[in-house]
């Protein structure tokens, strides 16, 4: 088991290293001079040269890469060429926001998916099960930003119950924070919930067919109770796996949802940075997103092995 963990950790490290090279190399391939692009229109030659020296752009690519990676690891990704501001604090601020969004969306997704998926499984073949299944198919087909627009139209514009966007830190005004979080989290969460519910359904169906559950049912427990007592842990395995693997999708869904609801998270930071040609910032944000996904995948991998020893091979 330990060997397994070590091997996986090694793979993680290698993946991180390779991704960093890919991200750095990719953006280094950008045609044009980042200093000139950052300074814009009427920059004089001296100011361009000065900026290049200030940010070390006149060194070799290899040196720049090493510096950048070192900075990322120690938590100091440097300063943006465009805004001259420290990137680190920006990332930290925005990450919090996106984390809130992603976490609450996941919560909503789970709250929707567990009962819905279980119901679909227990009642599959029957009308209510088919209806739910149809709904879940619809949920999967609707992109999160469309859900967001529809939610805004209904709850913000027509009914005026909730704000159409914006962000207040929870410590400042918890009520407003919750109100502003609701619609974007719903937009992301409902769609995720639909996706997740289908996995829950599948997992529960499989579990229901297991012998020991049949025995339990034969003993007189209803499907649901049998499930609850014996099968839940096994049913959770795919759910946890899916949740983790869906993180990449969720993070990206957050990018678009943040645009729709004007939430100042990582997604918005990324899009703004691209528009401003703020390369160092783009690099940093992309790297953060990739690291998050890789680390979560790693954790899920381990959890998977822990949760179901029978599946520990392969």
């Amino acid at each position: 088991m330990l060997l397994r963990v070590l091997v996986r950790a090694g793979v993680l490290a290698a993946s991180l290293a390779v991704s960093s090279v890919v991200v750095f190399g990719f953006l280094a391939a950008l045609p044009g001079d980042p200093a000139r692009v950052a300074l814009g229109v009427n920059a004089t030659e001296e100011s361009v040269a000065a900026l290049r020296t200030e940010f070390g752009l006149d060194r070799s690519l290899g040196d720049q890469y090493v510096d950048w990676v070192g900075g990322m690891i120690t938590g100091d990704p440097g300063r943006s060429y465009v805004s001259k501001a420290e990137i680190g604090p920006q990332l930290a601020d925005r990450m919090q926001v996106t984390l809130w969004l992603v976490a609450s969306a996941t919560l909503i997704a789970v709250i929707i998916a567990l009962p819905a998926g279980t119901l679909m499984a227990v009642r599959h073949g029957r009308r209510s099960g088919l209806l739910l299944a149809g709904l879940s198919q619809l949920g999967v087909a609707v992109p999160a930003f469309l859900a967001g627009i529809l939610l805004i139209t209904l709850f913000a514009v027509r009914l005026r119950w909730l704000p159409s966007g914006g962000w207040t830190p929870p410590v400042e005004d918890p009520a407003m924070f919750l109100r502003q979080l609701t619609l974007p989290a719903l937009a992301l969460g409902v769609v995720q919930g639909a996706v997740l519910s289908r996995y829950v359904r599948s997992a529960v169906i499989d579990v229901l067919r297991e012998d020991y559950l049949r025995t339990a049912r034969a003993k007189g427990l209803t499907s649901l109770r049998a499930l609850w007592r014996h099968g839940l842990r096994n049913a959770m395995v795919p759910v946890v796996t899916v949740l983790g693997l869906q993180l990449a999708t969720l993070l990206i869904g957050a990018v678009v949802v943040e645009r729709v609801f004007v939430v100042p998270g990582l997604g918005k930071l990324l899009l703004d940075a691209v528009a401003n040609r703020d390369l160092l910032l783009v690099q940093a944000v992309v790297m953060v997103l990739v690291v998050a996904v890789l680390v979560v995948n790693f954790v899920v991998d381990l959890l998977y092995a822990v949760l179901d020893p029978r599946l520990r091979h392969g």
Binding site: A133, V157, Y199, I252
Partner: protein, 294 residues
């Protein structure tokens, strides 16, 4: 969006095990999915030959009209016919999907076969690289490509394509491994048949069903990705109608003409739903065959 790496759960089909003696006859997903996909494809094809109006034709005297006989789905704020735009938008959707999924399949399937049939280290390498690519979702790759090369239909297609390769590689490898363990394949190897011949004659035909299912599923993802990119302004250029951009343009008019958001929204949902259902239906159709064979 459904994660491409995961095997998607099956749709509600009557399972053999539960009701004695009943086979897998009913497959509503397949039918519904096929119908919806066919609808989109037909609309896209028809748009090459005919649309009610030229989709980019600005007509300042016909702005924001509702549904009518002249304009089946009304007009937008420029007086452009919405139905025509939806039809040409279908073209964009299909086109991006075909290219992206095509690229992914053409690269991913051989990779998967290679991973299954080649030396173990190669298999591991392909799988690890797949994992890595999966850390870069389609949208992120498209944003990165856009930042470097400028956003366009091409960068969108390439980005989505690259992001979809891992799912094809994985599915193909899994299927190939299964095939390779079958007796007649083992017999062929013992008899000295060359690997390439085995690959072509035995492996490929048997994984084809898996690949087809994956094509459908990935198409749905591609449609969603393209819509998101167009919505963000990172997809097709202004002059090419696109459902995602129609959605983005409709936002300004939500209080005045919500229909302008509903129509492209429904189009996107129909396309994605269609491909998802088709994929599910196909999987249910092929699944039993695989099970029986093993």
């Amino acid at each position: 969006m459904v994660d491409p790496a995961l095997p998607t759960p099956s749709s509600p089909v009557v399972h053999r095990g539960d009701v004695a003696g009943v086979g897998r006859r009913h497959n509503p997903s397949l039918v519904a999915g096929a119908l919806l996909v066919a609808l989109v494809v037909v609309v896209a094809l028809v748009s090459f030959v005919w649309t009610p109006y030229a989709p980019s034709r600005v007509d300042t005297s016909s702005r924001l009209l509702g549904l009518s006989a002249e304009h089946w789905l009304g007009t937008d704020k420029f007086g452009r016919d919405v139905a025509s735009q939806i039809m040409v938008g279908a073209r964009t959707t299909i086109f991006v999907g075909v290219i992206a999924v095509g690229v992914a399949a053409v690269v991913g399937v051989p990779l998967g076969v290679l991973a299954a049939m080649g030396p173990r280290w190669l298999g591991q390498l392909v799988m690890r690289t797949s994992d890595l690519v999966l850390a870069f979702p389609a949208l992120l790759l498209a944003i990165m490509f856009g930042a470097v090369y400028g956003s366009s239909t091409l960068t969108a297609m390439v980005a989505i394509g690259i992001a979809t390769i891992p799912s094809f590689a994985r599915v193909t490898r899994a299927g190939a491994l299964q095939v390779l363990s079958r007796e007649y394949v083992l017999a062929a190897r013992v008899a000295g048949r060359r690997r390439l011949a085995i690959a072509v004659r035995h492996v490929l035909p048997n994984v084809s069903s898996l690949v087809i299912v994956q094509v459908s599923v990935s198409f749905a993802i591609a449609v969603l990705a393209e819509a998101a990119l167009s919505f963000l302004g990172l997809g097709t250029p202004l002059t090419t109608p696109s459902w995602g951009r129609m959605l983005q343009e409709s936002q300004e008019l939500l209080s005045v003409a919500p229909r302008l958001a509903v129509v492209p929204g429904v189009a996107i949902a129909v396309a994605v739903l269609g491909f998802n259902l088709l994929g599910d239906g196909l999987r249910d159709r092929y699944d039993p065959k695989l099970e029986r064979a093993s």
